[in-house]
């Protein structure tokens, strides 16, 4: 098992003919992801990696069964293409683009909520179920199949931790990067909920960073609803206060969102706290030895 995607997930790639879209499609396909169609307005009738390209989502839907979509569409066209996915009732959408205007992001997430489409992102590296399916830009070499579930805001940090675990022989069930914010479709706690329900996942790793209150909210949820062991690793404790470091989410807002407040909340919720990827390895060993 895995969460959100599996071996049979039939995937549509939005913006498949762009530079990133093309390269990532090639890597995903090679990994075994079942990509059945691509969409780029004006490029209908062409092919990318042997995958048929359509002008419209509706045309792709008319010709293929589609379970999920991943978008490589740049910010100015993101809202329109996401609306097209949602209106056509595709139930899972990964949005990779960063820099979509806030008003557009809010509308995408709200419309998806009304129509029942799950959105991962925006600004998400996507997710990977090692050995089964990769719907995103996670570098395959960093992962192997196993029973650790990882959820991270940052894509890079999920690669970082995946890489270390894999080096120590600890495989992953699914690795999910939800995006850097400040707005999110699926939140950390949504993914943790899925891991809790997933048979394959035995240990859950929560990778967080300073800014916002999402980790605190996840902690509340964990305390009430999660029985599986959780290891948390929060970065940014030494970041200069009041400065935005990349993600707009990574701004210290008053007393909320510091690394300290997040670590405290998660500790209280019963999570193990790691200070670097190697700590995580040690903690997993400890938990499994019990």
């Amino acid at each position: 098992m895995s969460v959100l995607i599996n071996k049979n997930t039939k995937v549509l790639v939005l913006g498949i003919t762009g530079r990133s879209g093309k390269l990532q499609t090639k890597i995903m396909k090679k990994y075994g992801t079942n990509i059945v169609a691509g969409v780029t307005p004006g490029k209908g009738g062409s092919e990318v990696e042997g995958i048929p390209v359509y002008d419209f989502v509706k045309e792709a839907i008319d010709n293929h069964n589609i379970d999920a979509a991943i978008s490589f569409v740049p910010p100015p066209y993101a809202k329109d293409s996401c609306f097209e996915i949602i209106e056509n009732n595709i139930k899972f959408l990964v949005i990779t683009a960063e820099g979509i205007p806030d008003h557009d992001v809010v509308e995408i997430i709200k419309y998806a909520e009304y129509k029942g489409t799950k959105v991962l992102g925006p600004g998400s590296a996507g997710l990977i179920s090692p050995g089964k399916c990769k719907l995103g830009v996670h570098p395959p070499r960093m992962y192997k199949e196993g029973h650790v579930g990882i959820v991270s805001k940052s894509g890079a940090l999920s690669y970082e931790v995946g890489k270390t675990l894999t080096e120590y022989g600890m495989g992953q069930s699914t690795v999910v990067a939800i995006g850097g914010g400040p707005f999110w479709g699926l939140a950390q706690l949504d993914i943790i909920k899925l891991f809790q329900q997933d048979e394959k996942t035995k240990i859950i790793i929560l990778l967080g960073e300073i800014g916002g209150t999402m980790e605190e909210e996840a902690a509340k949820f964990i305390k009430k609803n999660v029985s599986k062991p959780i290891i948390s690793f929060i970065v940014g404790s030494s970041a200069p206060k009041g400065k935005s470091l990349g993600h707009a989410g990574a701004i210290i807002e008053g007393n909320l969102g510091t690394a300290e407040s997040k670590v405290n909340a998660l500790k209280k919720a019963g999570a193990y706290i790691a200070n670097n990827p190697e700590d995580i390895v040690e903690l997993i060993n400890k938990i499994e030895d019990k």
């Binding site: 008003h103 997430i109 570098p139 940090l157 670097n276």
Partner: protein
């Protein structure tokens, strides 16, 4: 992009929100013959202006140029005052607080209203939570009448139609300008009705593609006030985040999480960061080259950490950027590179060919970079 008070008030005027009449005074303007009383307000982008003495009332009893010169001599939270907004004085009966922004965790719009406004609003928000009211607004529905009526009742506004007009105008500005914040603090009740005494509007830089002319206009106005040195180094064409700090190690990363973790590691090993560069969405060889140039522009720098773990980001592109920098701009500053992820093999091969060492362990290179910075 944060707008100055006077810029925000121009927009308010256009949307029918009452403001005081007034005019702008630049630092090098000749002081003309003004008529008292006037409120003189330093135009700065940081908060806390009132508490820092950035707002003065001139009642005519002393020479106005004295007050003006005082204001121009101020630095408010490190920001120099280069323009003053002079406004007619109005009688304020009561002050309230109104803003429209995003509720980030719920992905909706939110209207925030306080029964009292003014410079202590942050304190009120903490100590008197019952005085601050939140109304969630569905982005597709907009503000409904019952929501405005609800807020009016809670903060005890009697002149409902006047209030509604202002709220609707604020919401239209919020949507039509792609604003992330539209704030009036205070909105004053005066004998002549409600008047916006201050304005704070933040625009979403990511919406530039929809508002090119507007951004250009505001930027031009800013330049006029701030003079040179406004644009640090960021252009519209790249997505690099550059944060200057005060240590001696330069950091370039291709992902926020790893970047933050690198800062934590530097701190753990006892190092200090000179500046921090994150590539963002566009990650080609040009962006890498540019980042290296930006980071090495700081004369304090003793060593550089380049921390790469590419998903979107391609290591072949990164390698090309680094090699070009080494060839054309090499400044003899030691660079420690961790390179892995997409197109890792190709990237590493290019680096080998160019005789530039790359490492695999983040811990190791951070330790090396900190030691190098300390020994020099």
């Amino acid at each position: 992009m944060k707008l100055y008070e006077f810029q925000g008030k121009e927009i308010f005027k256009k949307y029918g929100i009452p403001v005081q009449s007034g005019f702008l005074i630049y630092a090098n303007d000749e002081v003309k013959h003004f008529t008292p009383p006037l409120v003189l307000k330093a135009q700065v982008l940081v908060g806390g202006r009132g508490k820092a003495g950035g707002i003065k009332v001139w009642d005519g009893s002393i020479d106005v140029s004295k007050i003006i010169n005082e204001l121009f001599a101020l630095k408010i939270k490190k920001e120099k005052v280069n323009a003053i907004l002079a406004l007619e004085k109005v009688d304020i009966l009561r002050e309230i607080y109104i803003s429209i922004t995003f509720n980030k965790s719920r992905s909706i719009h939110v209207l925030i209203a306080g029964t009292s406004g003014g410079i202590d609003i942050e304190k009120t928000a903490k100590l008197n939570k019952e005085k601050i009211h939140f109304v969630e607004i569905d982005p597709f529905l907009g503000i409904s009448e019952y929501q405005i009526r609800g807020i009016a009742k809670k903060i005890n506004i009697k002149s409902y139609l006047e209030f509604k007009k202002i709220i609707m105008a604020m919401y239209n500005i919020f949507k039509e300008y792609d604003a992330t914040l539209v704030e009036i603090n205070p909105l004053a009740m005066t004998p002549d009705g409600l008047i916006a005494i201050d304005s704070k509007i933040n625009l979403d830089d990511h919406s530039y593609f929809r508002h090119e002319e507007l951004f250009k206009k505001f930027k031009k106005e800013k330049k006029l006030i701030q003079g040179k040195g406004l644009d640090i180094s960021k252009s519209r064409d790249d997505t690099i985040t550059y944060v200057p700090l005060s240590g001696n190690i330069g950091v370039i990363s291709d992902g926020a999480g790893t970047g933050l973790f690198t800062l934590d590691l530097i701190s753990k090993f006892g190092g200090t960061v000179a500046n921090y560069c994150e590539l963002g969405g566009i990650t080609n060889s040009e962006a890498m080259l540019k980042s290296l140039k930006m980071v090495t522009g700081d004369s304090m720098i003793k060593s550089i950490l380049v921390v790469l773990i590419g998903g979107f980001n391609r290591m072949d592109e990164m390698a090309k950027g680094i090699i070009k920098f080494k060839k054309e701009f090499n400044k003899d500053i030691p660079i420690f590179i961790r390179m892995c992820g997409t197109k890792e093999e190709v990237g590493k091969q290019l680096m080998r060919n160019a005789n530039i060492p790359v490492y695999n362990s983040l811990n190791d290179i951070v330790e090396k970079a900190v030691n190098k910075a300390m020994e020099s």
